[in-house]
Symmetry: none
């Protein structure tokens, strides 16, 4: 008796998940205004009608997509265990984690850019905003004071600024790699040049905190 509803429920969730995945890819590639409901429906092997049925509107779908990519980052951050490592190693692990995450999730960068174009309108409307706030600043604060006590980091560094520095150095080169590659004499779409950039960036962060 309860089998049909369960299966239904599963289909329902599966369809929603397929639409969401397709939407993330579409919005990442074309932005909000450039995204096409038809393409999303096709990629999701569903119909445009279902998008409206489950997500209400294009903006509603974008909000869900944005929430999904934020939630995925937060989940990945939760898995970080910086307090298991020596301060210097933990710092390096953190940088590596952030920069790798950006490389492996270009859709995250693109959705954030799009959301900033819209002045974070969707994010501010999100009812899940609380859940999405990152625990990472707290972790960095702990790391900083641990390193300071151990004498390897200098005092007076603001954890938010440390986070901004690490994020900036990783994000900018990826987010702007197409224009930079056209204008600079260095193709940041090549792995070798990206790694060179990360080595330089790791050096910058190390020196920033050096006691």
């Amino acid at each position: 008796m309860s089998s049909p509803p369960v299966r239904r429920r599963r289909d329902r969730d599966a369809t929603q998940a397929r639409i969401l995945k397709a939407a993330i890819a579409e919005f990442a590639r074309f932005g909000i205004a450039g995204a096409r409901g038809e393409r999303i429906a096709q990629r999701a092997r569903s119909s445009e009608r279902m998008i409206y049925y489950y997500f209400g509107s294009k903006d509603g779908l974008f909000r869900a997509a944005l929430e999904a990519v934020y939630a995925a980052l937060r989940d990945a951050e939760h898995a970080l265990e910086l307090d298991q490592l020596e301060p210097q190693a933990a710092l390096e692990a953190f940088c590596r984690f952030v920069w790798r995450y950006y490389v492996e999730h270009p859709e995250f960068i693109s959705l954030l850019n799009t959301e900033n174009l819209h002045q974070a309108r969707h994010l501010r409307k999100s009812e899940r905003l609380g859940e999405l706030v990152s625990p990472v600043i707290g972790q960095l604060a702990q790391l900083l004071s641990r390193g300071e006590r151990a004498g390897v980091f200098r005092a007076g560094v603001d954890p938010v600024e440390l986070y901004l520095a690490v994020a900036s150095l990783g994000y900018f080169a990826l987010s702007n790699r197409h224009t930079l590659s056209a204008v600079l004499d260095r193709d940041l779409r090549l792995d070798a040049n990206l790694e060179r950039h990360w080595r330089a960036s790791a050096e910058i962060v190390r020196r920033y905190l050096a006691a």
Copy 2:
């Protein structure tokens, strides 16, 4: 005697300039797909028809807008005279210049983000790409070796990486200020927080080069 043709000429250029200015504002605010020809025409006190007469297509107009903001940056960079200052002061002047430019030209950041969404498609098609390439890397290279000879900068710093670091630290916090402000506990839309960020960033750059 030949004043009428001159006036015509002037009108022509003036109309083009008004359209271009309106287009930069529109594209900066809405991206390419979200931009509306009608709004551009109104803001430019012209007609949609003239957009197509002078720029051929929406993409053509975007290309012109992009070229214009790149050209404006390059002109500003030309005015920089880093070799007139002591290395340390020149470095600070450079950072200040870049970061101020970003704050004062949010349309530049937005157009670059939009162009990267489109994988620099318009920039690569630009026939003016050559003119737009920045002379700034060369200036930084000179500055680095001057500082190195003077014993105030360490050796082995790549000027491209220095440029990327400075640009990243200024760009990211502005480009993403809306999402960051929603997610962090620090509102980067406030001047005080931006200045705090620049002080931290200046410190980062100083330590990066410190001998």
Copy 3:
């Protein structure tokens, strides 16, 4: 019980049919470039939007119109039963059928002319091309050999050439009747002159096959 879906089905088909009929008339009168979506929508008591919903594009609509007029001719040809008549009578019946069809379906002539202007681009793209190929050449081949065996037609006449002759003699005078009437001293828009032409044409065909 299932009457609502049937009604829907009917409406759908009815709307498509009305659009198609209106399109045939419009294309016949103005060609493709000269045809106006708005006029088609009005004549069909529908909307321009529905044209695109059902036919995708102006070219798609023209293709459908062309397929429809070809299908109508093929259906009419199927009703021909040349093997029920004596060879000579069958030949006359065939000529009469073709020429009458052309007179009664000026839209057929016009659409073919338009399609030839476009080098049969739409016809070659048609997925229904196979269905539209006429069975008439085969019927003529049979008729020719039957008449030959009966001693009333001479041997060696190619059925394709016979078809071309009959079609040419009927088509040309109608298709070009406006210019011919302006340039010759005979108004082919008058029935009397058309009939005179058909009598002459029938004589030509008769003599072509005479044993």
Copy 4:
């Protein structure tokens, strides 16, 4: 003193001629509504403005194009000297002339089709219509009576019908060759098949007149 005006006059005529030639090609390929002033101007190495300056409107240009192709045919017909040949040979020469003319002047066929789509509106407005009327019917009438007297042609053949027959048989297969080739099992765009058709057509005409 009279040299500049003469040169002017020459330039003027040359420009008009280039525009007219370009217009004939453009109208032949795209019809009236499909023709583009811009393409005509480019092909003529002139400007759209000049088209309006010399020809007043698109329709005016089409009328001039139509008059030009009619005048060219009439000139070619004038060169025919059917009375120098034996009746049978003259008949063949006439057929050959007409059919070759159609092959070598596809723009003539296309412009006539286009003009018939427009119900000869432009032709009827032409002030040069009188000049364009063909002398060929008269020539055929003479030929017919000459052949009749010589006992090689039968009596009672109407010269207009003879003309229509010859024209039909040549025109139709060329004008409709694209659709016919798609629908029949014979590609009339191939020379071999066209010649086969002319042989059959010559046979038809011969038998039509045979005593």
